[in-house]
Subunit: 231 residues, 2 copies
């Protein structure tokens, strides 16, 4: 059954009118008609089983037949990373991280960052599409890019994956919910940044012996954290 | 330092002439000159530190200054999957799996496969590029697509990730080197295929609660196996 995202749909109302963009997709692209069933999610834990009552391409009207609510996950994975120069790699990462289940993604600006800005609008669309695909009912929070120092001051005691050869732990033994995992840029964090993080209680972590690209390291960390929380 | 792949370079010779394609890249693209240092890998564990002795775009000549050999990993991850309809997703998977470290990737043809053929030539190039990027000295073996039944008969006692709600184990508790991990197509394996695998000693595994795309499931399995072997 087709599944749509609309963050304006609310619980405890018998009907809903879809936004124009979604209405157009329902009527013009999928050519659904009055009486057809569709599902709508709002990113806040709700799944609505609906029936189309008026197939308008501008404002498609629905009757809500059933409401399903899923509690948010007790686990909380917060990934923070310096976005890569090539934005495709970040888009890919968002899709995969959302499929697997990540609650929050932050972008940080580091000394060696090649990309200094990021447009959240397109990333939000990719996030919504991955949510629909994997039937995640809770949206992943995406945060605007902030300087590295501001991020670690606001979120101390996290995990930092850097490439300098120092003593390191693993997420498998150390990870716990809510503590952010930060992944550096293509050229890694510089020594000053690593020192700043350590002073704010960050634990250095290793992601194995291989030299991983930024987005591969980020996904590796997400999966290792996910596995740790599943135990 | 720039790194090149040439599977014709052999140990215990003082010089080497690069293939035309690599020679062109050295001379025309990177504009390297006589005396410049380059590294060459051959995918069989060797890294050669070389110096350019003649910067010819057709047949660049090198003096081999140092030879480094890395033993193959004691661990062996063999991933087998039904390729996705969209080939970009497979190309992406190859890149990531090689970066993390996978020894063999097989392609299988299942009842629900949307893609029935695969061209290894382009995938080999992506594999080599990921090897160079992550300094893996051993090439990942890529195998031509074979029917599911033939594959499991030749490689019994592996792991199968399917979506039917049955009792399942995890790679974290069960994985051991060399046993293949098989990932189904977009529409999953059918019941007959799952039964065939179980009869040949396959262990059903779960990759968590989320509904993952084929290539995401494959990478999740590779990372879980890699983490299990690192312990």
């Amino acid at each position: 059954m087709p599944i749509f995202f609309d963050d304006t749909i609310v619980n405890q109302r018998p009907t809903h009118t879809l936004k124009e963009e979604e209405s157009k997709h329902v009527v013009k692209v999928l050519r659904l008609q009055q009486g057809d069933p569709i599902q709508v999610i709002n990113g806040e834990g709700y799944l609505f089983n609906c029936e189309i009552t008026q197939a308008s391409a501008k404002a498609c009207e629905l009757r809500i037949l059933e409401t399903i609510f899923q509690e948010p996950s007790q686990h909380y994975i917060h990934l923070a990373l310096a976005p890569t120069k090539n934005i495709d790699r970040i888009e890919w990462l968002i899709e995969k991280a959302v499929e697997i289940g990540v609650q929050e993604i932050s972008f940080i600006l580091t000394k060696n960052s090649e990309r200094k800005q990021i447009k959240l609008e397109r990333l939000e669309k990719i996030m919504v599409s991955a949510m629909k695909q994997s039937k995640q009912l809770h949206a992943t929070k995406l945060n605007e890019i902030v300087p590295f120092e501001a991020f670690i001051q606001e979120h101390p005691n996290g995990f930092i994956a850097h490439c300098l050869p120092t003593e390191k732990n693993t997420l498998t033994t150390e990870f716990s919910s809510k503590k952010p995992i930060i992944i550096g840029p293509e050229g890694d964090f510089n020594e000053h940044e690593i020192q700043q993080a350590l002073q704010l209680g960050y634990t250095p972590i290793t992601l194995g012996e291989s030299r991983l690209r930024t987005e591969t390291a980020a996904l590796y960390a997400v999966i290792e954290a996910n596995l740790t929380l599943r135990k």
